[in-house]
Assembly symmetry: D2
Homo-oligomer: 409 residues x 4
Amino acid sequence: MQYADIINRWQQVRQRSVAIAAPLSAEDCMAQSMPDASPIKWHLAHTTWFFETFILEQFEEHFQPFHQDFRVLFNSYYNGVGDKHPRPQRGLLTRPALDTVLAYRQQVDARIRRCCDSVKDPYFFQLLELGLQHEQQHQELMLTDIKHLLSCNPLYPALYVSPANPASPADLHPLATTCAALAWQQYDASLCEIGHLGKDFCFDNESPRHRQFLEPFQLATRLISNAEYLAFIDDGGYRKPTLWLAEGWDWVRQHDLQHPLYWRPDPQGWQEFTLHGLQALKLQQPVSHLSYFEASAYAVWADARLPTEAEWEYAASQHETEGQLSQLFDSCWQWTSSSYSPYPGFVPATGAVGEYNGKFMVNQYVLRGASAFTPAGHSRNTYRNFFPATARWQLAGLRLARSQQDPEE
Amino acid sequence: MQYADIINRWQQVRQRSVAIAAPLSAEDCMAQSMPDASPIKWHLAHTTWFFETFILEQFEEHFQPFHQDFRVLFNSYYNGVGDKHPRPQRGLLTRPALDTVLAYRQQVDARIRRCCDSVKDPYFFQLLELGLQHEQQHQELMLTDIKHLLSCNPLYPALYVSPANPASPADLHPLATTCAALAWQQYDASLCEIGHLGKDFCFDNESPRHRQFLEPFQLATRLISNAEYLAFIDDGGYRKPTLWLAEGWDWVRQHDLQHPLYWRPDPQGWQEFTLHGLQALKLQQPVSHLSYFEASAYAVWADARLPTEAEWEYAASQHETEGQLSQLFDSCWQWTSSSYSPYPGFVPATGAVGEYNGKFMVNQYVLRGASAFTPAGHSRNTYRNFFPATARWQLAGLRLARSQQDPEE
Amino acid sequence: MQYADIINRWQQVRQRSVAIAAPLSAEDCMAQSMPDASPIKWHLAHTTWFFETFILEQFEEHFQPFHQDFRVLFNSYYNGVGDKHPRPQRGLLTRPALDTVLAYRQQVDARIRRCCDSVKDPYFFQLLELGLQHEQQHQELMLTDIKHLLSCNPLYPALYVSPANPASPADLHPLATTCAALAWQQYDASLCEIGHLGKDFCFDNESPRHRQFLEPFQLATRLISNAEYLAFIDDGGYRKPTLWLAEGWDWVRQHDLQHPLYWRPDPQGWQEFTLHGLQALKLQQPVSHLSYFEASAYAVWADARLPTEAEWEYAASQHETEGQLSQLFDSCWQWTSSSYSPYPGFVPATGAVGEYNGKFMVNQYVLRGASAFTPAGHSRNTYRNFFPATARWQLAGLRLARSQQDPEE
Amino acid sequence: MQYADIINRWQQVRQRSVAIAAPLSAEDCMAQSMPDASPIKWHLAHTTWFFETFILEQFEEHFQPFHQDFRVLFNSYYNGVGDKHPRPQRGLLTRPALDTVLAYRQQVDARIRRCCDSVKDPYFFQLLELGLQHEQQHQELMLTDIKHLLSCNPLYPALYVSPANPASPADLHPLATTCAALAWQQYDASLCEIGHLGKDFCFDNESPRHRQFLEPFQLATRLISNAEYLAFIDDGGYRKPTLWLAEGWDWVRQHDLQHPLYWRPDPQGWQEFTLHGLQALKLQQPVSHLSYFEASAYAVWADARLPTEAEWEYAASQHETEGQLSQLFDSCWQWTSSSYSPYPGFVPATGAVGEYNGKFMVNQYVLRGASAFTPAGHSRNTYRNFFPATARWQLAGLRLARSQQDPEE
């Protein structure tokens, strides 16, 4: 990438975070609705902390932190960096004020720009790219976290006042296509390769590229729609233990779950909470905000299963040339049946940055694709998203798979 | 009270709430540090809700609520009023904004003022007084709650930038007197009367006035100081089970408590978090922010006990004429050994307002006196404050008592 | 008491504990149904531990413990004695076997008897009496604890196979009287004395005797019956928040309580689990196994209140000469509105025995009278039983009280 | 299998369960030390319930259950069978007595034997074999559960009084071999087949046999020893967050773990609790009773990793002909890095028996091999054991693996 391109990309990514927060008040940016979610202000500060801690501390001459205590306040989970503010208490940080955090961003941006002029070490630019990719991940979380926060308010406030408002990023939720009949794409048995290839950026968990053997399988050419999921509910899906994984059934009973996270029953039909407020449920759109447990139960009910991540990635790479599949990256993340674990030969990055991915490889399930909340340019076939089986506040839906005897056998 | 006096008092009390919030940002006013505490914004709204719900709804012609959903959002615990927003989620109400709540206050103030001109029913003025007394109680909670919130921030921000700043209510913490040697005031056995007398306002829990027989006792003429409490700590007070009530000991072990809530160990001596930030512990001042359990353990260690509320009230009424005691109302609330229970013949107020006091009369202990955070004019001998035995975030200290054989026997 | 009397009493009390356990298997004696309850085997061992630890260790020449580890295993809560086995894990002590515990009892009994012959110190005999009183308290707990354990078994096994069986203590539940109309006994205002008087044994919490002033009140001449409590249920008593203390309402909602602990709905009418198995509810008998919260809610519903412990004791002492009240000691303990707290001038016993009562004087409520499970000779007017407001597995019912204006005023 | 062989095998397996319980008292057989573990009596009854419910109910003429309520009491987790007694309350079932459960076993055994004479349906014999395999699984759990129970007793009672006692199954813990230097066996990249092959019994989770591609890897030829694990502890292994999975680190901190479950520090060196009581730690034996988290942390510390289950199975199948590995089946189960998930094409068994395996395929990790507690004849290369990452009470150790570049590449 050319120098001008880097600076350009730098500015675009950093500005988009501020743009996401723009329609929000300082109060909106302060609250934390659950330990899994973070305040918008914290996201704005933490992504800046990442650049200050992992890049400026190493590459800036006469390094002086913006504020000494921010090293602890905005550390998320890096034990290699030292102490961290307890995650469930991020919503108590009324100070520093949002304005101070925005000033922090500006100051760090200026310092990074100066380093770009002077530093020649390629590792500097690798870390810079990592920081931008990291920030893009947080941009998606900003949207899922503010959506969750607003959904906890009985007033159901809308982040975007009107879809027609030119200032609002209405394109964040463009799921308007009509739903075709569910079709299946067939894949023969094959020894495939998965994992990142080439020189472009990837996270360490996408490598090394390696071989996997796939028995023959089929993949649905589109995601499951709200209408289809409603049929599952109407058939008593949330009341039949035989459809559920045992742990999922206990969890569903304990929380008395009866529908996806943001659905609201209403005398006039199902409503769904969105960033534009409470709206009539759009039946033709992909169902989203499902947990792994719900996705799995639906698949059992539909006499199918979730794909493995290798199946998904192989099919997605085929799609690049043959185009059989839809809704791979533009609607919802897609749960796979694959536990998040290291690829054979996986080596975490060195230093504190090595905590980025590897240490979470337990009791989480991989999601593939991308969602309407994913920043442009931040998706690829090999990308591995991951969440625990109970996570519902992400834009996660499902694409069905089926095993099938290899016709050659 | 004359009409002009009522309007005057009305304005003073209502303005003081806004004044307490004045040095705070909208972010500061939004956060809730624990389920027991509430956001400042919530206090500002709830005290207004009290007037709108219990007075305007009944006395205003063509009643129109400021906002239909506020009836639920800002109901604290009145089942008679209907649903209420869950207490632990008060910190998620980023909307309505602080500005909207301030507008809500102004609108209700104007409507109340209009009613004052037209309504003649004395019950209207009784409820008005109840609403003001209620707001004064919340003014004290605003200070204890914001203190707790700021103490959770590792930056230990100060609410009042400097004691010398004329804009800051430095008088809220005027505990500057030097500590005299502990002396004991003797009270003979007597059949006394306690409970409210006269026509002035009191809460329902202060009545009816009734007789109690007191065996002879002694009361310390001042509160226990930080220096004295430090001696208790240094003597291993937090490590000796024999000093503690059994439930208190389990609680101290479970939370590994070793000092009062806002004390912080420091190489240069104990620090204490205050509304002016972290400061060196003032040894001559009364120890505060004690739980009932800590107060009780100190009393056992000091070979004394806590007074009963009848002993306290009787001594305070004697003091009015004879002046033997100090620090009754100007420093800290004083834990008594009395469980919060109804006086003989107690009858709660009718209607939803009857939930104000009576339903809390279990597993709480009475505190008497008042604190440096108590609004001027809001204290009296018969006032019954109450909190659970583990509450530490209130300005609660202790005054020792001793039983003694009646010399006449 | 004469020497022969002491030995005689000693044998009777000790043998009764073994008799209670006689119809039970070793398995029955092992299980612990909740942390509040203890296994029968543990009761048998702990009461013996009490004699070994507090008497033999002090008075026996060449003291040798039966088993070195029993000092920890069977210590209940005496911090002065050292470590103790965690209460919730008493049901894991499959060893020592029940037979070993019975041998422990026999050995300690023999050693105590030898000491009776040689020791002349009156304190020895005081501790002996305390140990027997302690054992009688545990005899009541053995019955309530085994009842709770058996109630957890879906087979609802009966401890006593048949009421007609001469070997079964059918007299433990002799509540067969027919219910008279509820009448009220009037008591004028008076300065009374309460607390233990005389030389007979009492627990330290019953002293010192002291004066209390009682405003005029009325007391129901009998307990509330199952039929009356059923009317409360049928009137929606468990669904009306206004009847309940706030903490009680939260607790009732959280556990979805709808009736007393051992009642079971049945198509043919209410059943109640008893030590004789599941039986049709006896409507004329006093309602029992109520929590304080349930007793309080019933009293509010009945437009009455619970008595204070001073009112109860005063009325009971009047009853001795005038006989106005029934069911004082033969049916159920009676909740009072009095928090368990020290009498003025209370001084705990010295040494580890001093932990017996005083340290529990917080967040508990006093029950007066006695129950059908109380050993003969173990009840008196001044006896103070106490449990937390949620305790339901004791034989606790309620007697109503009412305040009334003194006719002389 | 011939008819006589079936009867013979039937008797042997059923008798072994009773033999395991033989040295235990009825009290020992009653207690449940944690929700994950079950009482021995429950195991004895549940394995019998399995035959009565899944076989006799279907194949016995004029089926009459031994006891109507046992269907619920001894159902473990089969929703298809109806209600079940809550798992955490299995230790409260003092009735039925152990003797009744033994009588239940004998009666069901007799009924099954009669069916063997009359029923010709091959599905009957398939279910019979499933029942025996099920019982063998419970035999291992009986040993791990009783070990856990006895470890909770401060007396540390020994199940087997002396290793020399001919009545005690000393062979259950024969880990006496001396430890060789850790060597690595090399495996080239290959397309292998895993999963059950042939007509012998296997659980449904072992099928279908399918292809997997393995990148080159190395496997340690023996398990990690206590001495090696001690070096990890001495190097601060339990205090270094970088060695641990994030969730594991939180769990270790929360429970303050510092060593394997049954190790006990002692002034004279580490002790380990065993079924023979507390003994000096045998340094040359494989470390056992590790959680997945501990196994994973050790592997990171040793610059290695856990094997996948496919690697393990492939290596084990090679071992059958070439014999490179030791301690595959005779010491400890071996944690793999593989999440427990369905094989491609997996179809659960039909009917309630289908709940046996499939519904647990989430948030669990596969263990391979077998342990000293595994019944003879109950281990095979394809066997998939599974437990959550925190399970410590099983005989689980670890065998290291390493990735390596394929030398051919």
